[in-house]
Amino acid sequence: MEWSVVTGNAGLLAAATLNTVAIAATTIVLSVVLAFPLALMRDSRVAPLRVIAGIYSWTTRAMPTLALLFLAYYGLPELGIYLDPVPAAVAGLTVSAAGYNMEYIRAALKAVPRGQYEACRALGIPFPLALRRLILPQAMRILLPPLSSNLTLLLKGSALASLVAVNELTGQAMALISDTYRPIEILIVVAVVYLALNGVLVAVQKGVERQFRLPA
């Protein structure tokens, strides 16, 4: 073992880790924000909206995430849209994750008893307010476990960004390996960083889930 390849490149690896965190965090936020209206559209009374959301959900979940990343990076320029590597990676990962997130959100909204929706209507509470103050807090308890397990998948998914020329943790690792020919040391460090980030994400989840738990 020759740990100097790690200590000597600690700065590069740290910067790459920050990139990974930034990509994962942006994707996590954007994919939930994008998934929410899609989930509402999926059960909308307006048929075209329902169809669009249905097609979106089916195609994005059927396609490999890597295919979506390539579509954003290699495919969009064909339509005259040129994205830099990082935005392309974030776009691909977000579109992919939103397809799953919208199904979890939809299932959670459906799991709130119908009577709750009817009571809101009977009390004349406008739908947006009802959603925010009454439905969502109840749906959250059902939504959080599947949603957060999908978000840890997103952290792992951010490694795919290295394949569209983003210099995040895995990409940096590949570059360092071809420079130094010390794959073992570098990959061990990278694995530890991913597992640590994963641990942080799981701890955050636990905290958030506790927030939404019913008082015993």
Partner: protein, 218 residues
């Protein structure tokens, strides 16, 4: 379209490679994962603690990192499996981690009273497993197994990063030759979706069979 026609034989070969790698990985990881789950149930902490750590590591790491470890780090340690061998090893390790969790949950869902009943009836462990536990576990495990496996097909696209000429690798090469990335990527996605769909149909068939056999239709 010309590029698709010209590259058709390569896409076909790549699809076949993806299918047999996936089939092999699924069979291996299901058998080993199920065996480890049963073993950890039977042998207690000596197996269940290492298994939990193993499964946490391989479920926590990006597929790409696991593949790179098999493809780059193992040769440095003296074991060179080549691209396809590395991909098969990497995905099997990841698969075992998930399958073991799926089967552990399935075993845990079997009512403990049933074990007491089989003991009272004098059934030995093997018979209990085969006639009582297995038919129930298959039913509870099947949806999770199929969901994971169908999703896992798509992960095989990552193997293109370690020089395996599967569907995504051929797609990338074809993109480099032509200026039709959109079409090519959609074709590739269609191939993965088709493989995943076959699995979903298989799930319906198997679940129907097991639902019929045991009578109860839950």
């Amino acid at each position: 379209m010309d590029v698709i026609v010209a590259q058709f034989p390569r896409f076909l070969a790549a699809t076949w490679l993806t299918i047999w790698m996936f089939a092999l990985v699924t069979v291996l990881s299901t058998i080993i994962g199920a065996a480890l789950a049963i073993l950890s149930e039977a042998a207690g902490k000596a197996v269940s603690v290492p298994l939990a750590i193993f499964s946490w590591v391989f479920r926590g790491l990006p597929e790409l990192v696991v593949l790179l470890a098999c493809y780059l780090a193992l040769p440095a340690a003296g074991l060179d499996l080549g691209p396809v061998g590395s991909a098969i090893l990497g995905f099997t390790l990841i698969g075992i981690a998930y399958q073991a969790e799926i089967f552990r949950a399935g075993l845990a869902s079997v009512d403990p009273k049933l074990f007491e009943a089989t003991r009272a009836l004098g059934m030995n462990w093997r018979l209990t497993m085969r006639r009582i536990v297995f038919p129930q576990v298959v039913r509870t495990v099947l949806p999770a197994w199929a969901t994971f496996s169908a999703g896992n097909v798509k992960a095989f696209a990552v193997a293109s990063a370690i020089a395996v000429t599967e569907v995504m690798a051929v797609t990338r090469q074809s993109i480099a030759m032509s200026n039709q990335p959109f079409l090519l990527i959609l074709v590739a996605a269609g191939i993965y979706a088709a493989i995943a769909s076959i699995l979903m149909v298989l799930e319906v068939l198997v679940s129907r069979r097991f639902a019929g056999q045991t009578g109860a239709n839950s």
